[in-house]
Homo-oligomer: 127 residues x 2
Amino acid sequence: MKIPEGMKYDEHGLLTAVVQDHITGEVLMLAFMNAEALRLTLETRIVHYFSRSRQKLWKKGESSGHVQHVKEIRLDCDQDAVLIKIDQVGGACHDGYRSCFYRVIEGEGVLRVDGLKVFDPKQTYKS
Amino acid sequence: MKIPEGMKYDEHGLLTAVVQDHITGEVLMLAFMNAEALRLTLETRIVHYFSRSRQKLWKKGESSGHVQHVKEIRLDCDQDAVLIKIDQVGGACHDGYRSCFYRVIEGEGVLRVDGLKVFDPKQTYKS
């Protein structure tokens, strides 16, 4: 699989990636990809990102086992974002939830937790 | 509605917003919000963004009529992205499609159009 022509990377060489459960439609996370991460994702059908905090390529689930199997990749009109439909092993969020979007903004800035907790981060990420 | 504490805006003062149809779960678009856009979105229940190309506040649908009515706003674990579930009038994409993600990346970088076209941009955006 080749990368389509005309991709619009930002000033840091990154695209935004939205990741969605391919069956339920639940949005699981948002992260960033450089060209290498997109190429590896297309080739291996396992999602790879570029970690902005660690400034390195990041194969999702490499340490936790919570890998993301690609089912479909869509491109937006501006070609600066991709929507990836996946089969998620375990949970996408490092806080232990299935989705990173596990809190709802309610009145007066209050956050209500509303998400499925699927693993214990202390166990998964222990050194 | 107040903005929750601890939001993490980027170096341009922006958050990423993923917008999803509240019934079908279809991801419709991805855009950016500054604090003012988020405040207006929370208060009016109509989605507002910050346009990076025009460098100004942008009420979605102001010229096209394709407004987005807020049903729920979720926050991600890092507090630098929001997921907004909406009721979309017309289409989210300025190319005339219901969703901006109307193309699938296929083998060898080929893009296949797979999206519902709901309006004619030439008619909607005529001067």
